[in-house]
Subunit: 332 residues, 2 copies
Amino acid sequence: MGYIKLSKKSFFHNLDYFSSLCGGKNKLSIALKDNAYGHGTYEIALFCQEYGIKHVFVRNLREYQIIKNFNFDSILVLYDIPKKVNENIIIAVNSIEYLKNIPNNSKVEIKLDTGMNRNGIYENEILKAVELIREKQLVLNGVFTHFCCADEDNDITLNQEKKFQILVKYFKKDFSNFRIHCAASAGVHKVDMSKYDLARIGIGAYGYLDLDQERYLKPVMSLYGQKIATKRLNKGDHIGYGSDAFVALKDIVVSNYNIGYGDGFFRFSEHKKANIADGRKILGRVSMDSLSVEGDDDEICIFNNVSQIAQANNTIKYEVLASLNPNIEKIK
Amino acid sequence: MGYIKLSKKSFFHNLDYFSSLCGGKNKLSIALKDNAYGHGTYEIALFCQEYGIKHVFVRNLREYQIIKNFNFDSILVLYDIPKKVNENIIIAVNSIEYLKNIPNNSKVEIKLDTGMNRNGIYENEILKAVELIREKQLVLNGVFTHFCCADEDNDITLNQEKKFQILVKYFKKDFSNFRIHCAASAGVHKVDMSKYDLARIGIGAYGYLDLDQERYLKPVMSLYGQKIATKRLNKGDHIGYGSDAFVALKDIVVSNYNIGYGDGFFRFSEHKKANIADGRKILGRVSMDSLSVEGDDDEICIFNNVSQIAQANNTIKYEVLASLNPNIEKIK
């Protein structure tokens, strides 16, 4: 399973960037969801606490349990409903059905669908939502939306924001003292953050952004593999599964390391090739438990920046991070 | 995170098949490694115990901890070395270095490299291995190898087996009462199992095989997503991330379900399309936490057979299973 090295320094550097962009660290809510994008919900929660982060969000109650004893002012749970009211949980409301199922007196945050067409309350459902909040004596802690295309160069985000502003007014008529947020890592570069209470920072905190500003950020995670065995191959020998996935063109020394697709790393092969951090090729097919590269180092850095791995798999950086097995050990 | 449904009936059906092929259930060692190929090490260990399986293997000591109190005769740990001798653990020896690091008096099983060129002892290292076993008073519990190409239609497996037979003789000179095994799920269709003590069954136990005989097996896992929200889209509306990943060509009803690439499911998109079990398309891009399909069912079966998903991602069935997030709830 190798291990993951986390750079607190890089994480703090990224938080400094977003803090300065958004108007202070009290305006940041950090994504601890999906195992903190693969970095470890617990480990990143520790970093957040040390930095002075007040607000975080998780995916479900399992993740809430991991961080419930941390010193955060708010924990927003995006996709789960507790069975009993719990004043330490803020429940994101993804639909009218969600509202119906939430225990009376819970704290909620209404998600408004301004164009994702996926989760959240539409404009024509707001009256019903307000009615249910009153009826169930829910505490309206906030109203928010999510941008679909903040990393695209078009007006969609601007239009979503305009729509959001209009919809928020419906709630202002009936409620006060609730927080308002819309932007995530890319979005904060497009909206005027002085108008909002919070920015939800996910991928940016971990060092990536599909915008030019990525150059101001530093990746937090490096993935390491530890050696299982070293082999001296003769010209013509093959490695691992498949008789023609990799055949040595000359006598070489190769080693096998304990990272495989069972760790959520992608299964690179003769059809889809990638390199480790120092540029050496991954030879043949990645197995469930291991992969091979030339050389005999005791351990290798598989990546310290996921850009090349994402590109080699024709996907986005998020997937490389978030699909890593949560059981991989984290080292600071 | 949805949930995984496990079919004990299908698992037992597959074990019946391999039991009959290999000469009885006492000759099967079942792969509980890598979270039992995504099915849950603990849950599948329960199934194995009920069926009367005596032998299992895991990847590391973390997995050993999960099943150490089960009633198995042997637990082989493939890629980890305990700090202290533990008579309940059989340590697979992947290299001479491994042997040096194993605590004295431990039980070991020597892996012989007969052509994977990845892990295991080469012929020219056997004398050194025997010397170390004696010196450290290790208990030789077994000798084994692994086939690189048992699902290919060529002589490679036969040649590996011949080589294995020759290498095993070196150990027979010095040791007795050790078990001998070489074949895994595909391999048992190629070797004469009466010559061996054990077959290591992984993918076959879970219902898959890259051989025609796959038709005799039944998939054990189905993955389900639970609804987050339903939306009525107008013609021209898009869904999720990206303004052009999916655009509705007519008014439709779509729902969003709680399986995403954060669950280790692949990130299908406009560039790489896949269907759920009943043939409905996954619309637009799979997000970290969710995916969308047409309709409004409360829950959907994402897959009950991973063949189509594997093909759509241009990979093997193993990867679909083993890369699933171990935290997904299992239901029997």
